[in-house]
């Protein structure tokens, strides 16, 4: 089918039927801000951040869920769209517990509260995702203003009872990304919208805590949450975007080989997220990949070589331990030949380790008695 043409911000662009305005814009390098939009999930159009002006349409339309049409003329940054986005952002901020450094209305400066909040990295008042929040980013970008007194949010304590994940409904903006992550990306179907008493809430069946639901703690919802409503329990107080660096690596658990971003602070992994777009996992992780990293910091880690002496282990230096290993192996080879040695390599460790171990057995000990657990 031939490409169709349309105008976005006075540029002629082509598109294939079935594409949304957002997709066409993205393909042509035109940036439209989004909030509720989640890659690979059905657009919901709930947040109204991606609104654009279409000639001939009375109302602004959400770019994420409006199909592109032939000869359509779209403006993505008109005064009207900017004003609308700013109002939407201000409404979101006043609807919840968002102390994210938004200018007060009265003077253009940060409020006293906000200055105080960021003085201490671990201040309870400071939102756990401060500096890594899509709403905060948009609030800056669109110069949203509010005073604390505008907030219609009433105290609502976070759900701390779950292992691994904290749910703080006071910071939820009901964008629905978590619902899509759970239902359309990971397809675990543990959470959904509830519309009780004119109030929208994201709930498990029966509004139970996650731990009492079908949730499998993959944490896809946490990764999808654009604000601080869903955060990793282990990372709270340890992870801040401005004091951690990101290192890409491969997950140490099953054979899928998911690509992870290790968020490292003070020499320790404090959070793990999936690498978006990466092969093979496209940003997705499971419970072990996302939360199973802190074993490396266990106090029980082996720190020195050990030699058994009269039935008990004692600490030894590398030289002593390796000399003993070599002495014993040499004795055995001398007495019974290299076939009296055997080794099992590790299917968890890196390729280079297995290569070295088989090289040691074959080229140094002179035996092919080397195996690993592939068969078990």
């Amino acid at each position: 089918m031939p490409d169709h043409k349309m105008l976005i911000d006075s540029r002629e662009v082509t598109f294939k039927p079935g594409m949304t305005i957002l997709e066409v814009a993205k393909n042509n390098g035109i940036k439209i801000p989004t909030l509720c939009h989640l890659k690979d999930a059905t657009p919901t159009g709930t947040c109204k951040i991606c609104v654009v002006e279409v000639n001939g349409e009375k109302d602004l339309v959400p770019a994420c869920s409006t199909p592109a049409k032939k000869k359509m003329t779209v403006q993505t940054n008109s005064k009207r769209t900017i004003k609308s986005r700013r109002t939407t952002i201000e409404l979101m901020i006043t609807s919840g517990n968002h102390n994210c450094g938004v200018s007060g209305k009265s003077n253009g400066n940060w409020t006293d509260f906000q200055m105080k909040a960021i003085q201490y990295e671990n201040s309870d008042e400071l939102c756990p995702v401060w500096g890594d929040c899509k709403l905060q980013e948009l609030a800056y970008q669109y110069q949203a203003k509010m005073d604390r007194s505008d907030s219609i949010w009433k105290s609502d304590s976070p759900e701390l009872i779950n292992p691994l994940i904290i749910r703080d409904f006071s910071r939820c903006i009901k964008c629905g990304r978590c619902v899509q992550a759970c239902n359309e990306i990971q397809v675990n179907k543990a959470i959904d919208y509830s519309y009780k008493e004119n109030d929208i809430k994201i709930i498990t069946p029966g509004d139970k805590p996650l731990v009492d639901s079908d949730c499998v703690f993959c944490g896809e919802c946490v990764q999808a949450c654009p604000v601080g409503a869903l955060v990793e329990k282990k990372s709270k107080d340890k992870w801040r975007p401005f004091n951690s660096k990101k290192i890409r690596t491969t997950c140490p658990y099953c054979g899928v080989g998911c690509q992870q971003l290790l968020h490292v602070s003070k020499g320790q992994i404090v959070r793990i997220t999936g690498v978006e777009k990466a092969e093979p996992n496209k940003g997705r992780l499971c419970v072990k990949g996302r939360f199973g990293y802190d074993f490396i910091y266990s106090k029980e880690r082996l720190k020195t070589p050990l030699i058994k002496d009269k039935g008990h282990f004692r600490k030894a230096s590398w030289d002593e331990a390796l000399d003993l290993v070599v002495k014993k192996f040499k004795e055995i080879i001398a007495e019974d030949g290299p076939g009296a040695l055997a080794g099992v390599s590790c299917a968890r460790s890196i390729n280079e380790d297995s290569y070295q171990m088989q090289k040691l057995f074959r080229s140094v000990f002179k035996t092919n008695n080397i195996d690993h657990c592939a068969r078990t």
């Binding site: 890409r248 290790l262 910091y297 029980e300 297995s354 171990m357 088989q358 090289k359 080229s363 195996d371």
Partner: protein
Amino acid sequence: MTNSFSEFKKAKMFLIIGSNMTQAHPVASTFVKNSVQKGAKLIVVDPRKHKLTDFADIHVPIKVGSDIAFLNSLIHVIIDEKLYDKDFVTSKTENFEELKQKVKAYPPETCAKICGIKTSLVYEVARALAKVKPVMLCYTLGITEHTCGTNNVVSIANLQMLLGNLGVECGGVNPLRGQNNVQGACDMGALPNVFPGYQTVVDKSCRKKFETFWKVKTLPSENGLMIPEMMEGLVDGKVRGFYIFGENLANTEPDIKKVEHELSSAQFLVVQDIFLNETTVFADVVLPAAAWSENDGTFTNSERRVSRVRTASKAPGEAKPNWWIFKEIAKRMGHEWSSSSAKEIWDDECSIIAPAFTGIKYSRIEEDGLQWPCSDENHMGTKFLHKDGYFTKGKGSFIHVDWTPPAEIPDKKYPLVLSTGRRLYHYHTRTQTGRCEGLNDLLGEETADISLKDAKTFKIDHGETILVSSRRGKVEVKANITDEVPEGMVWMAFHFRKNNANWLTNPAFDPITLTAEYKACAVRIDKLL
């Protein structure tokens, strides 16, 4: 895997057999579920009604260990009704006539009896498979952990060749590998019969190549021992020195009592690991190793993709990278190895000596990894193998195999079958996940999963601690009554020491691979007195 994970989202149909994907390969399962939600067909063949069956068009609850009878019967129907891919079979395969004659012994009626399913289900699945092309077949340890594991895999290959589903995108024979780098350990030659890159040790020219490359005289020319043979060798004194690197054999091998007897018979045992565990108990020397994220390197996933692993934090105390430890031992034996980083080992050795990895260099896998075979530094890697039906050995050979029952089948004294596997929240013997905050809260103990019917028969309540025993051992464990498990089965994992399923499992092995029959042995359940 002959094919790739990225093909899951485009696949038209899946046949998933012996794979509890949502628990053992959770992220892979999300792509299957996405595909099914968009209209792909899913057939799950598994004794258990595990989570993925909720998404299946057809669930075939065959009896444990009856896979070959089922697969042969599918082949029987597909040939009988002329539903197979004639072009593919004629031009790309051989031995079809023999297969055709021999599967006559597996009419659906016979299969139904052996597998404990309805005859009509065999016809339904056979016809469904023949209707869609290609079909992506995935399997896991439900296929391999049997005394007939090799034959199970052969049957699977027969089916996919018959349907012409090999050498095409979204088709193939796809074993999901259990460990992050079990593929890589095989690729690197941590096997008794092959050098890195599957170059055989009994082949003189391969040995010559490695002798030159490693600058050594005469490499050993006979295949070495496999793990079960090594373990038995410890008892009869054939193996005196044993070096275990990063495996907790005392918990992972079948029949713990036997395994511990074997380990305790070792004259000199070296264990290299990151924690003390049930295996280090028997060690004479323990060497402390750097863990994942404490040194650079590469892992190779199920789809043959070599991806980078990077350092995030320092190893504790004096713990050292494993490759360094092996190099130091070699040095003390008079061999100076030049590579002194994982990058040098890969770039200057692994990728040079094995043709399949030649094009893979650290500089090329900074972001997404590359899938072997990758023949040169301009090659973009291989998404799926046997393109257009060209097999490594020329034509694909049909090899008929007959069904054989598990080595130990239920009887009067041990009337139930124990099948084992993995659970989502833990990994293997919990040396790692047991030390991660939160995971023990999600799964703090083992259970014996049983059906409601058996619970009634044996008068057992949900959550009641019961005794599960086999000819080899017994464990006390809480009963978990679930509709996932069929009548006649007890299902357990091996994550917890106290009631590890391996106190019960049968050390009976596939004759070729020596893979143990973890998926089937006979047990009984009793109320505690």
